[in-house]
């Protein structure tokens, strides 16, 4: 039992290393073109957050739309620490993760305590995004309408004001870590508990699973990662502003997670890469022609995927994995 688990983890680790190395090779192939690097960095940002969302949304089946709140908190914590006390972002990003996890606790504890589920939980979390956005707009000592630009000269490691390739490689490492965390959680008791909650909450409760605590743990792991990685939004754009509490991010993350296929580890990430690149491609090709037409296509693609592949893209991707023999998903997909 123990050794088979170890072997499984080792196998997954191999897949993750393959993905990371593959990702690491992309920039040199593209000759460090700034535009492609920036696109890829944003896609990676989303991929990491989607992968984190997978823990609460995919494994646990909780439709969390709080990603915008956590990324915003990450940005503001990191930015405020830097602007007020000159604390370097290297520390700030993790502080951002902690604050986001704290807020995850604040919203999650009572929500799960009072049994919020499904759409009600989704609404509570997306409402949180708007509440925080408006709160930071009014709270002028920290937020306010004015953008607060982050200090530092270009190329400074202390201020993490770096060329895109640095962010890209940091995020590749982050993605590898989060993917491995996904594997770890999935193999652990927490993972089994989360799956049981997703399948049938009442039955899980009856069988002695502490449903509240399970969900809360999943939520806080996700919030921590989202807060930490979310602060890169501020680092890349170079300022903090209440618009970083963005409901669009919440919707994007959730929809990518759902379309990717709930509970699968790699499919949401791969889906993010496919759909976000398609979106950016449509934008460059069609964007200048008729405003909005590329997003019509994007919306239509999303609907088609959900309507005709209810399992998400993972159903298709699994066949592809089987063909190329990667990811060894035989065991893992049937849950």
């Amino acid at each position: 039992m123990k050794s088979s688990m170890k072997r499984e983890i080792y196998k997954q680790l191999r897949s993750i290393v393959i993905i990371s190395v593959g990702l690491a090779l992309i920039p040199p192939i593209l000759q460090f073109n700034n535009y492609f690097l920036l696109v890829l960095t944003y896609i990676l940002l989303y991929a990491v957050i989607v992968s984190a969302w997978n823990i609460i949304g995919g494994f646990g089946g909780q439709l969390d739309l709080g990603a915008g709140a956590f990324t915003g908190l990450g940005c503001f914590t990191m930015g405020t620490l830097l602007l007020r006390w000159n604390i370097p972002p290297v520390i700030g990003v993790f502080a951002g993760g902690l604050i986001a996890a704290a807020f995850g606790f604040i919203i999650g504890y009572p929500s799960f305590r009072f049994g919020l589920k499904d759409v009600w939980y989704a609404l509570a979390t997306i409402a949180l995004v708007v509440v925080l956005k408006q709160f930071f707009t009014v709270w002028e000592q920290v937020g306010g309408p004015e953008e607060r630009y982050l200090p530092g000269t270009y190329g400074s490691l202390y201020y993490l004001k770096l060329p895109y390739s640095y962010y890209y490689y940091i995020l590749v490492v982050a993605l590898a870590i989060v993917l491995f965390l996904n594997v770890k959680v999935k193999m652990s008791k927490l993972g089994y508990y989360l799956f049981s909650v997703r399948e049938n909450e009442d039955a899980a409760e009856m069988l002695g699973v502490d449903v509240r605590m399970t969900k809360l743990k999943g939520l806080m792991i996700y919030a921590f990662i989202t807060g930490t990685i979310g602060s890169f939004f501020a680092l890349i754009s170079g300022y903090i502003h209440p618009t970083q509490f963005n409901t669009d991010i919440s919707l994007q993350i959730a929809i990518l997670g759902i379309v990717g296929g709930l509970g699968s580890i790699y499919s949401p990430v791969i889906t993010t890469f496919i759909l976000q690149s398609a979106s950016e491609y449509l934008r460059t090709v069609l964007g200048g022609w008729i405003p909005g037409i590329h997003l019509i296509f994007y919306g239509a693609i999303l609907m088609i995927i959900v309507l005709f592949f209810p399992e998400g893209l993972s159903a298709i991707l699994n066949k592809v994995y089987a063909k190329i023999g990667l990811f060894s998903l035989k065991k893992e997909e049937k849950k």
Partner: protein, 288 residues
């Protein structure tokens, strides 16, 4: 802070509350009966507002009069959307429903942008303008008309649901669709009609919103989330629940703006909503 201002804003908030309830009513009906989670609701409102604008412009009739045309058109629109999209996810898990309706949201919003451009459009032919005075207080005619329409729609809907065969079948489906099907109710047909009816109500709401607002492709944002909040607060405890929740939201906004900062008016409403979800998870009036 003068008392007059407070009372005036209480009046404003109440009138606004009726508008909110009317907008949320279509959603409450669809969600209550069919359990369909439609995140594209706000976008439906936006499209209906555009429809009102164009019909009013081409036929040169006041916005409030376009109801006779927009409501049937939107009834058909609702049925088409149901057949094309909703029917396929009606049995699916909530997450799929949300994903598909978010896709619909992105599609509709950008369709509006591509087809009608980004400039806000407001009605030119209007009969419901101005306000009248009651003592020191002003009541806006368009808002009052909306409130009255909202009440009328509520009462009519209530009568339909309680007095007609159709309504009883709807309620039966809502309570237990398997039992209803066994008793000879065509559930699929009921769903189709309810979705259409919900959309027709959205069209009525949109026609009256247009008497004091203008429409742009992003208009759906405001109405979508607010409607969901009202439906959640009303707790599906029937139509009066929706009305009460709408009034609470409207009045809360009015009071907040009187005493604090208009920038945080939605924050207060949503905070109230989150607290309510926690402490009264069944909504204010009902069983969920």
């Amino acid at each position: 802070m003068s008392l007059e201002l407070f009372i005036q804003n209480l009046i404003n908030g109440t009138l606004l509350g009726f508008v909110y309830s009317l907008v949320a009513l279509g959603l409450a009906l669809q969600f209550g009966v069919m359990d369909i989670i439609n995140f594209g609701h706000g976008e439906f409102v936006m499209v209906a507002m555009y429809l009102t604008f164009w019909i009013s412009l081409f036929l040169a009739i006041p916005g409030s009069a376009t109801v006779v045309l927009t409501a049937p058109i939107f009834f058909v629109f609702g049925i088409i959307i149901y057949k094309l999209v909703i029917d396929k996810v009606i049995e699916a898990q909530p997450l799929s429903q949300i994903a598909v309706t978010i896709g619909l949201l992105i599609l509709l919003r950008n369709f509006a942008l591509a087809a009608w451009h980004a400039e806000p459009k407001g009605l030119q032919y209007q009969v419901l303008v101005g306000g009248f005075k009651v003592g020191d207080y002003v009541i806006s005619i368009s808002r009052l008309a909306t409130a009255i329409v909202s009440l009328v729609v509520l009462i009519v809907l209530h009568l339909i649901l309680t007095k007609t065969y159709f309504g009883i079948a709807i309620r039966a489906t809502s309570d237990d669709k398997v039992a209803a099907a066994l008793l000879g109710v065509n559930v699929k047909k009921m769903y189709t009609l309810v979705f259409g009816l919900g959309c027709a109500i959205i069209a009525i709401a949109a026609s009256f919103i247009m008497t004091f607002q203008q429409v742009e492709p992003m208009s759906g944002m405001t109405w979508g989330l607010l409607s969901w909040v009202i439906v959640a607060m009303g707790g599906l405890g029937g139509l009066s629940g929706v009305l009460a929740a709408g009034l609470i939201v409207g009045i809360a906004q009015g009071i907040e703006i009187t005493f604090w900062d208009p920038r945080a008016s939605l924050a207060i409403v949503y905070l109230l909503f989150i607290l309510l979800l926690w402490f009264k998870p069944k909504g204010l009036f009902g069983k969920r």
